[in-house]
Amino acid sequence: MCLGIPGKVLEVRGDTAIVDFGGLRKEVSIVLTPDVQPGDYVIVHAGFAISKISREEALEMLKLLSEVVNSIKVPKTSSR
């Protein structure tokens, strides 16, 4: 029920957005996350984007994990 699926915002149209879930595109409501922009990742639950994934926090986790797993390289700079 509380299944949330991460997807990438492709396009914002008023209070909805077109979100890409690994190839499947769906229109979702962004009334709960009105500040999302194309390129952002969001968590979608029951047709609503409920949370924007934080780029900084995702990178932070990547960095922490890369300290324990040697084969992982963390990008120093990032492009949007």
């Binding site: 949330g4 991460p6 709960l32 996350t33 390129g39 968590i43 934080s54 890369s66 990032s78």
Partner: protein, 385 residues
């Protein structure tokens, strides 16, 4: 951020990272007593069972499923009331999980075969669309789910976008009160893994009571197997140091304050009341209902529905114990024998978030059934004496 996030997802699924964390868990588990970790989310149980996480944990680390499946804990009395409404000619819209959940006598699915108009929608937004497309028909949306789902129902009510021919039967429940109920049980938890997506809405603050009052650590976790393993590792680390804390492992999606806008909509539309949970009983301040200014959308008032006592658990069925983590599905005499996903006897066998349904798919076929059952039973008896 495309590349970084993809990279993070790949990493979260890499066996190398998982192996490292599992070795840490093994190391940390040495020299400590049994640690009972309770999670309260069907999606966590899905991750744990699907990836066989219990099988790789040390013997003294127990992962127990608590009340985390919204359709499982919706009382039969409320399902009965919606079925009665559907049989009286009002069209009912609800999520697919709810369809086969048995009420006292019937499920909505069985009501449909008796001529009731029961339809599945993917979201509340779809319910609004359906109601708009058939303005001459009366619709009721059976609103079930925890904070994650309640947050998607509230905004369109608050914004006045619900058509006149649509009302709601509100059965939303709240997670932190259920955790607090678990904390008061004798067989309760040493620590919790808190549900990531509920937490995107409510944030971290509602969990602060657990370390402070109950001396239980809480780790908010995501749904990749590595998220769960990291949560276990964090809990063991804290246990080893004799510390209790609230930790947000899912910080990529959960902010301390939660989704402030969602909470604003939710509490503008709903107020908190005492509510019954199937297999548990009444939990104080655990249910949402529409505030008086939105009562015109309340199906209970619109149709004068009376909610009568229902039969939550059939004789012999262990769903009530499974829901609070007092038993595992394989303890139930009906499990995978007379109670199957096609013919569910209890609510936990229905939804893909129900513990019995998940175990039917993943744990039963693993060949580890007996040892898993023995381990869980042995531990439960030892810890409750």
């Amino acid at each position: 951020m495309t590349d970084e996030y993809r990279q993070l997802l790949n990493l979260l699924r890499s066996s190398e990272a998982a192996g490292t964390v599992v070795r840490d868990i093994e190391r940390l588990s040495r020299g400590i007593d049994n640690v009972k970790i309770v999670h309260v989310c069907g999606t966590h149980e899905h991750t744990i069972s699907r990836f066989g996480i219990r099988l790789i944990l040390p013997k003294n680390v127990k992962l127990i499923a608590g009340p985390g499946c919204p359709v499982c804990i919706t009382p039969a009395s409320e399902i009965d009331a919606v079925i009665e409404l559907a049989l009286s000619g009002v069209a009912v819209l609800t999520f697919g999980d709810m369809l086969r959940v048995p009420g006292s006598e019937l499920s909505l699915f069985q009501a449909r075969s008796r001529g009731a108009d029961v339809r599945v929608v993917y979201s509340f937004l779809d319910a609004i669309k359906v109601a708009r497309s058939e303005p001459s028909r009366e619709f009721v949306f059976f609103a079930i789910g925890f904070e994650t789902t309640a947050a998607t129902v509230a905004p369109y009510i608050a914004l006045g976008k619900v058509p006149e021919n649509l009302s709601l039967f509100v059965s939303h429940r709240l997670i932190p009160p259920a955790m607090e109920f678990m904390s008061l049980l004798r067989h309760g938890a040493d620590a919790y893994i808190a549900p990531g997506h509920v937490s995107t809405i409510i944030g971290c603050k509602p969990y602060e009571v657990f370390p402070k009052v109950y001396r239980q650590s809480v780790v908010i976790a995501g749904f990749e197997p590595l998220d769960v393993l990291l949560a276990v590792k964090t809990i063991l680390d804290l246990t080893k140091r004799g510390d209790v804390k609230l930790v947000n492992e899912y910080s990529r999606a959960v902010r301390y304050e939660g989704n402030v806008l969602a909470l604003k909509y939710m509490y503008r539309v709903f107020e908190v009341v005492d509510g019954a949970w199937r297999g548990i009983g009444v939990i104080p301040q655990s249910k949402l209902c529409l505030r008086s200014e939105y009562r015109r959308y309340d199906a209970v008032e619109r149709y004068g529905i009376s909610i009568r006592r229902g039969i939550d658990v059939r004789p012999g069925c262990r769903c009530g114990d499974v829901i609070v983590g007092r038993a595992v599905p394989t303890d139930c005499p009906y499990f995978a024998k007379v109670c199957t996903p096609n013919n569910p006897l209890g609510p936990c066998m229905v939804s893909m978030e129900g513990t019995c349904r998940i175990w039917y798919q993943f744990e039963r076929t693993r060949g580890g059934e007996v040892s898993e059952r023995e381990r869980a039973t042995e531990y439960l008896y030892n810890s409750s004496s």
